[in-house]
Symmetry: none
Subunit: 406 residues, 2 copies
């Protein structure tokens, strides 16, 4: 099955927006065995969009578009594709009601513009969008499958994951399995994988780095599902043995989900005292449903006085060793542990930059203290990058350290 991804929007062709939609869809299509030979991006222009659609219909079996389904006049994907396929647009009363209800719930008035989001080409079906107003569209006509998804990545990704896979299923079996690692760089990981020479007849292996974590993806493809599964299991077994201490989960789970799950399993209550990460670790943990079972509280002790007042850091310690020091990290954790009845406390203090560097304390210097009722551990790191990168890497490091002691 030859696939083509068409991303529509002047924000992409003018370089306002990085095209992460094509990246995501290519990955997903690759996983299910479709061969994506083309990605096309075109601006919001009726004639050019029509040309691009016609070229795609001519060379591809499966076409997925993103963008141009919104309520504004620039949004014309549905109209142009209907025209290209000779299909009329019809108003769907159920969808009209749904969108109206959505606007009612938000306490906003539904404009006439929004009505057009309830139309679809004759013979097509809607694809549910549970977090936005623009539904997707699925057309299966003359052996061509055409899927229109909205442009906002969050909506598009959710819809793809929930609804699209079944629509574009092929007669080859594709099995993919991911191993998620943290604490090892992508290039070291890849060199080691190459040395291990793991790929078999029906499988291939790739790595994807993201925010301090690296995903190892094993993809099997063929007619014999059981055989593929066997090959993949054998590869996973070797990877498990070789990279054990770096592996935090399987199949695209986020590190913070694993941490929350482990905390719940242990019945642990956790408290955080963050300085340079400014609440980032806390906000990552609270992104996970069920976080209220484990996170008791977090203190962002950004100022010296808050370190003293909230978690009882001694003035003398701050004066003698500075806010970014092993001693302060320890006292931050100890202070919170003494104040609240917790099973685990994590404190973080560091220099995120661009200011705050001193001769003996460079930007990127971070101390993390992990404390239980019985024990504690202080980890010193030197991170590279700009302010945001240092904050993100520190947060991932802290989550990894929590994971490791659970």
């Amino acid at each position: 099955m030859i696939a083509e991804i068409i991303t529509i929007g002047t924000e992409i062709t003018t370089g306002s927006t990085l095209n992460t939609n094509a990246f995501f869809l290519s990955q997903k299509l690759f996983e299910i065995g479709a061969e994506t030979y083309y990605q096309t991006t075109v601006d919001d222009d009726e004639k050019r969009l029509m040309d691009v659609i016609n070229i795609a219909l001519n060379r591809s079996d499966l076409i997925i578009t993103t963008g141009g389904l919104g309520p504004t006049k620039d949004d014309m994907t549905k109209e142009v594709i209907s025209k290209a396929l000779g299909l009329e647009l019809e108003l769907d009363p159920v969808m009209e009601e749904n969108i109206k209800n959505l606007f009612d719930r938000m306490g906003r008035c539904m404009s006439n513009n929004n009505v057009k989001q309830a139309t679809k080409p004759k013979g097509s079906s809607f694809i549910e969008n549970s977090i936005g107003t623009a539904p997707g569209i699925y057309i299966n006509k003359d052996n061509k499958k055409l899927i229109m998804l909205p442009g906002p990545p969050r909506e598009m990704k959710l819809m793809f994951n929930n609804h699209i896979k079944d629509l574009i299923h092929d007669d080859l079996f594709i099995v993919s399995k991911s191993v998620n690692t943290v604490g090892i760089g992508e290039s070291s990981l890849e060199s080691k994988l190459v040395e291990l020479n793991l790929a078999s007849v029906n499988t291939s292996i790739a790595t994807f780095a993201k925010d301090g974590t690296v995903e190892i993806k094993i993809i099997g493809k063929g007619k014999d599902k059981e055989q593929i599964q066997l090959e993949i299991n054998s590869i996973i077994k070797t990877i498990d043995e070789e990279f054990d201490k770096y592996i935090y989960g399987y199949d695209n789970v986020e590190l913070e989900e694993i941490v929350v799950k482990k905390l719940i399993n242990k019945g642990y209550k956790i408290g955080l005292c963050e300085s340079c990460t400014g609440g980032l670790v806390s906000s990552l943990i609270t992104k996970v449903p069920g976080a209220s079972n484990v996170l008791e509280r977090a203190i962002v002790s950004y100022s010296n006085s808050s370190k003293i007042e909230e978690v009882n850091v001694k003035s003398a310690t701050l004066e003698k060793y500075g806010a970014v020091s092993e001693e302060t990290a320890y006292e931050m954790a100890k202070g919170l542990m003494d104040k609240v009845n917790l099973d685990l406390v994590v404190s973080i203090t560091g220099i995120a930059g661009p200011d705050g560097e001193t001769e003996d304390k460079p930007i990127g210097l971070v101390y993390i203290c992990i404390m239980t009722k019985e024990n504690y551990k202080i980890i010193k790191s030197n991170f590279n990058g700009n302010r945001t990168l240092i904050q993100n890497r520190t947060a991932i490091k802290a989550l990894d350290e929590i994971r490791k002691i659970l």
Copy 2:
């Protein structure tokens, strides 16, 4: 001048590599006034690449390719383009010598494969690559300009910045200006812009939504730079008048940057008490360099006991009105204000879901309390979406409310 960017490589079409080359080139072409209507990506396949090149030659005046200039058999961009244009490939002895010297300097042996990097289509010229072995190629034939650049982003970007601008210079000026808004939906904003009918002879206007904020971009283009600037200024003036209360900044500034800047200007110290956002507002503020001048501390009072102990919320209030209520929001803010000498306190409590819904309190219900020494204000909102979206929208709302009282 209609431009097209063709990025070549199976690593992009299989979703291994995010296509940042097209993003970079689109931005650069936009800045110099070329109209990039198309971005095309194709895998490393001779026939398909040939088709894509022919389509581009048919619809665009300027074609920039990246990728496929390396020494391996997968690299065939130069060969295919030469064929499409009916040009012979010839070996350039000077370039051959250069590449040989480069290999000598690296202490590596030049393979026969590398010799093909010294060939170029007849009548074309080389573009210097000072940090890699693959030079670029520039062809100007039959009113079409064709530029081939290597795929590695670092080489490609350096070559573009150093050599390409002069080759594709146009005699048009481009001026663009952005107005950043928050608190108004993209479709309402666009309806109003359409009513205002602002675009002039040399300008166009577009809107881009991102995470609860909407950017209005005004793009002017023409031969008379001063005239364009005048037209843009006049449009901005009207937009300023019409959308005053929604505008938080100009030219792609982030809302949190504006908030931190305004807090610094007023000399305000701020404290946060977050529940459902779990530290997200604090972490957004601390992403901004200089945040330590304004953020004194933040309390993530996630549990009831932390609300009672940290910010003195009354048990009776939690029992009678619940943790998500106007009364609790008020007491959270008041408690922090009483505890610390601050100019501004923001408290947030809400139901991010998926759990926690009750009959009279739906998922997405959020109370934000903004308190100064003299006054306070409580904002009730009902947000849509999943947990992450509700948290993000709440954070943007809180930042916007801070902005508005400064």
